[in-house]
């Protein structure tokens, strides 16, 4: 495991509010995820896992600590990157609780949107999108309207979108929540595939009992503190 | 994957957008200020112009009579009423003689008295003549005696003087007789006059006719000249027609006329212009012409309104255009001529015009020229035009 690439979090804290009403959502969180690794992040609601994702996603400013993504220090008691938007666009892939695809773009354009935002020409962006859709097994739905797609297809397309700019990091927030167990397991399989193929470090926030056994490493988070555990690492079909 | 005849959605919308823009452009160029002006055109042709003059008139009687007394008096009886036909000489009304009878009697008596005075004067003359004879013979006898010296000269002078006196009395009696004779003549004339006046209280119809007004009833007093009755000869009714001075060229006696009565608009009566009044009306700027009926229609009343159309001789083989194609620049009449693809205003001189709107072109155009008849708007030298069948929809 090369600690210089992937995700590294050291002593990350986040306090909301001030004085007596202050809430410490994160207390000295430490995490490591290697490139190509898929780790689970498990905890009860209110434990701070959403806050951790928001800090990693550079949409919420932590109070203190250090975050290194893909070898680049993005936060060290203050943002070290001037344009967080570009960071999110190029270096982080997001997979949400729901697919959150753009309804007025078709499947290909939803995925191609990210390279286009990064300035790639449209043809190249669409080519890459098609590649990813193929890899995820939804290429035949490339021109479909989002409303015509099933939940599983949409989820796969959102995964493709997260991968479109080949970010070193992917943050997945309850990606199997809307899916049944089979679909859920297949999503996890895909994530593992993509992670190893593109050497992406992936954090999966979940409380889905069906997929937790698949992780090799799990971080437990309680009251803002993380505890590393070994997972079952059950093999997937 | 795109199927060949199923265009992508953006293509449909682009087509729709283009279609909308085209519709927009079409609207902008066919209506509103950018559009060409719609006109209809016609060619100058040869044809007949039937000019006619039109005027409105009132039915009047050629001769109307006001029947009334020559002296003020009181009406005693009116024997006819409005609408009655009367014959010439028929007694229509009588005035109250009042004192006229007494005056006639008095005049007769005065005449009689004057006659008696004449007789008296004649008798006196006879008497004077006899005295003159006596005085004459006495004077001769005494003159003879005087010469013989039987009487004194003074006695002779006395008798001479008596003779002269008797001569003078003859003269006086003669002149008195003449004077009474003159007086008789005067009184007789007065008597004749009084009788004449007595006859004048009889109001008689001067000719055959119809009574049109009864203006005084028995018992009312009228002044001299005031009409008691009005009379017209119904066969002499004609139409007093007024024609605009500016549109009465060619008015002459003998023009055939069509008369339409206001009370009987469906029928047209034939007539002829019989007289043009020498005095026109300068206030209303009209000429006055009298149009007689060829055959008198039934039930026509005086002062009724009528329309009169006088037909003038037609102009054949004239260049004609509808008068709607005439335009005016100031006082100059002209038309919009289309030649060599350009529109320009050509002044023209017009001749006869028919009541149907056809006007003769005397100068300015030739047969076959294309001119504008109706237009949507005022035309100018550089107007763009579009020839259509009709500018205004005339639904029938």
């Amino acid at each position: 495991m090369d600690k210089a690439v992937g995700i590294q979090i050291e002593g990350l804290s986040k306090r909301y509010g001030a004085g007596e009403a202050a809430v410490d959502a994160l207390r000295e969180v430490n995490m490591n995820v290697a490139p190509g690794e898929v780790v689970g992040l498990i905890g009860p609601s209110g434990s701070g896992k959403t806050t951790l994702l928001k800090c990693l996603g550079a949409v919420v400013e932590p109070t203190s600590g250090r975050i290194t993504l893909g070898g680049e220090v993005i936060y060290d008691n203050g943002w070290k990157i001037s344009d967080l938007r570009v960071l999110r666009r190029d270096r982080i892939g997001f997979i949400f609780q729901a697919p959150y695809l753009i309804p007025f773009l078709d499947a290909t354009d939803n995925v191609a949107l990210l390279p286009m935002l990064a300035g790639r020409p449209n043809a190249e962006a669409r080519a890459r999108a098609l590649e990813l859709l193929q890899a995820l097994g939804v290429a035949q739905r490339a021109n479909a309207e989002i409303s015509e797609l099933s939940g599983g297809e949409q989820q796969r397309i959102s995964i493709a979108r997260a991968l479109a700019n080949r970010p070193p990091v992917i943050l997945a927030d309850e990606p199997t929540a809307p899916l049944d167990s089979d679909r859920g397991l297949s999503v996890v399989r895909i994530l593992n595939q993509m992670a190893s193929e593109y050497q992406t470090a992936i954090i999966v926030v979940t409380h889905d009992e069906k997929i937790i056994p698949t992780f090799k490493r799990i971080y437990n988070i309680r009251d803002g503190r993380t505890f590393e555990e070994a997972g079952e690492g059950r093999a997937l079909q | 994957m795109k199927i060949s005849f199923n265009l992508p959605r953006w293509a449909w919308f682009s087509l729709l957008g283009i279609a909308l823009l085209l519709a927009f452009a079409w609207v902008a160029t066919t209506s509103g200020p950018l559009a060409p002006i719609k006109v209809t055109m016609t060619r100058v042709a040869r044809g007949v112009v039937a000019p006619a003059l039109f005027g409105i008139g009132t039915i009047e009687a050629r001769r109307a009579y006001l029947i009334g007394p020559t002296v003020p008096g009181r009406v005693r009886s009116v024997l006819v009423d409005v609408g009655d036909s009367v014959k010439a000489g028929q007694l229509l009304a009588e005035m109250d003689p009042v004192d006229l009878d007494a005056r006639v009697t008095s005049a007769a008596a005065a005449t009689a008295r004057a006659g008696s005075a004449v007789t008296t004067a004649e008798a006196q003359l006879d008497d004077a003549k006899s005295r003159q004879a006596l005085a004459g013979s006495e004077a001769r006898r005494f003159a003879d005696l005087g010469r013989k010296g039987f009487v004194s000269q003074s006695v002779v002078d006395g008798k001479l003087q008596q003779q002269q006196s008797a001569d003078a009395q003859i003269a006086a009696a003669e002149s008195a007789l003449v004077s009474t004779r003159q007086d008789l003549a005067r009184q007789d004339a007065d008597r004749v006059g009084a009788k004449q006046q007595r006859r004048n209280i009889r109001l008689e119809a001067p000719t055959d006719g119809v009574v049109t007004a009864r203006d005084a009833e028995p018992g009312s007093t009228v002044v001299a000249g005031q009409a008691v009755l009005q009379l017209i000869d119904p066969a002499s009714l004609w139409v007093k027609t007024r024609l605009d001075q500016s549109r009465s060229a060619g008015l002459r006696v003998g023009l055939p006329a069509e008369i339409r009565l206001r009370s009987n608009a469906r029928e047209l009566f034939a007539g002829k212009l019989v007289r043009i009044e020498p005095n026109s009306d300068s206030v209303t700027e009209e000429r006055i012409a009298q149009v007689a009926f060829d055959r008198m229609p039934q039930g026509v009343s005086a002062n009724e309104m009528a329309d009169v159309t006088l037909h003038q001789p037609g102009v054949t083989d004239a260049l004609i255009l509808p008068n709607a194609s005439l335009r005016f620049r100031g006082a100059q009449a002209g038309v919009w001529l289309r030649a060599d693809g350009h529109l320009r205003f050509v002044p023209v001189k017009t001749g006869a015009e028919g009541l149907d709107g056809k006007v003769q072109i005397v100068e300015g155009l030739k047969a076959g020229d294309e001119v504008v008849v109706y237009s949507e708007r005022e035309l100018a030298d550089d107007s763009r035009i579009k020839v259509v069948d009709a500018v205004a929809a005339t639904a029938k």
Partner: protein, 397 residues
């Protein structure tokens, strides 16, 4: 980069177009109101143009013959013809009244004119010019009369022999042209009851009804029934003379007023239409505000419906300005559809209005700019809302 605004519109095109239609109808009403005002001004201009006159000679101290009533003797024109610089002078009368055709009647301005003189309609749209001296009429198409119709004006029936277009009074009433003498009678001759009453009153007056003068009463009655007044004399000025100079000459007559073309323009447009223009101006401002509010509301609602997508877009790295551009372009697109629909609608329903509606291209261009500006401003509300969206809300749901 694809155009997000275009995609969004294409995706929900039905709603967008319907909204555009609604906005378009509102804009169409606005154009029509402006067109009504322009139509009124054009009516006035057309009225002045069609008369063929350079000067209007009216009763002194009046603003007639259109703005106020004016009455002058009908022989004044002869004196005017004698003035230097006067090429043509003709009597005209104007009277607003109901003209009957069968069972219906139409409000029209009856114009009395002399053929070949100023006051006669210059061009026809159908039929022919008047050839008889009485009882023929030429009517404007807006009266809905046809050639051949019999119409009744006061006591007489007239035959419509010709039709005109755009011959309207300053109030927008269509004109009906009849010979001057008929028009004088129509305007000044009283109805039968009044005439009979007048005759009775004259007969009761011993000064007028003298027994010793037969025929006096009749002569007085006839003279009272005659009328010799007109409303104005239209003067055409000879080439080489200035209209104002001739007008000054005429004004020196103590009992006449003369107006040039510019002065009549001012009277009609500034004075008669002035009040209308203020009303319409206020109405237009209100319509603009309503349109702006409508666009703002619609765009805001459309944006609110996309809050989640906007959060996601922001999270995955879309520029704020791209998102603002999305909203602005939608607002402008809405404005464009509204403008096109509005312009087409105003053109389509304009002729159905009883008065003339004139839609000028200048007004359309100005309208386009104003619509775009209003839409841009109206979109700022939604843009502010969109910019305030926190991308973090995409995470955690």
């Amino acid at each position: 980069m694809i155009n997000l605004a275009g995609r969004d519109i294409l995706h929900g095109w039905g709603k967008f177009v319907l909204t555009g239609l609604g906005l378009g109808l509102l804009i169409g009403v606005t154009f029509t109101m402006a067109g009504v005002y322009r139509g009124m001004v054009d009516d006035a201009k057309v009225l002045l143009n069609n008369s063929g006159a350079d000067l209007w000679v009216v009763q002194k101290d009046t603003l007639g013959p259109y703005a106020e009533s004016s009455s002058i003797p009908d022989d004044v024109y002869r004196d005017l013809l004698g003035l230097p610089g006067v090429a043509q002078a003709a009597n005209v009368t104007y009277l607003n009244m109901q003209v009957r055709k069968g069972d219906t009647d139409v409000r029209a301005t009856v114009v009395g004119f002399e053929p070949g003189q100023p006051g006669e309609p210059g061009y026809l749209a159908a039929g022919r010019r008047i050839t008889r001296s009485h009882y023929e009429a030429v009517a404007d198409v807006m009266t809905r009369f046809n050639v051949g119709d019999r119409i009744r004006i006061r006591r007489h029936d007239y035959t419509v022999v010709g039709l005109t277009r755009r011959m309207v009074s300053s109030g927008g009433d269509p004109m009906v042209f009849i010979p001057l003498k008929d028009a004088q009678e129509a305007q000044f001759l009283k109805d039968n009851d009044a005439i009979v009453n007048g005759r009775t009153r004259t007969a009761a007056n011993p000064a007028l009804n003298r027994p010793g003068v037969p025929g006096l009463l009749d002569a007085i009655n006839v003279s009272q029934a005659r009328n010799h007044n007109v409303n104005a004399v239209l003067v055409r000025v000879a080439d080489g003379h200035s209209a104002e100079a001739v007008a000054q000459d005429i004004r020196h007559w103590k009992h006449l007023q003369a107006f040039t073309r510019e002065q009549m323009d001012d009277i009609l447009i500034a004075k008669m239409i002035g009040a209308h223009s203020e009303q319409i101006g206020i109405f237009l401002v209100i319509l603009a505000i309503v349109s702006a509010a409508m666009v703002a509301f619609i765009i805001y609602t459309m944006t609110l419906g996309k809050i989640r997508e906007i959060a996601v877009l922001k999270l995955i790295g879309t520029h704020n300005r791209t998102i603002a551009g999305l909203i602005l372009q939608q607002a402008l697109g809405l404005g464009l559809i509204g403008f096109v629909v509005g312009k087409l609608a105003a053109t389509a329903w304009g002729p159905a209005f009883p008065k003339y509606v004139l839609l000028e291209t200048g007004d359309a261009a100005r309208g386009f700019v104003i619509v775009m500006v209003i839409c841009a401003i109206a979109s700022t509300l939604a843009i502010r809302a969109a910019l305030k969206v926190d991308p973090a809300t995409a995470i955690g749901g």
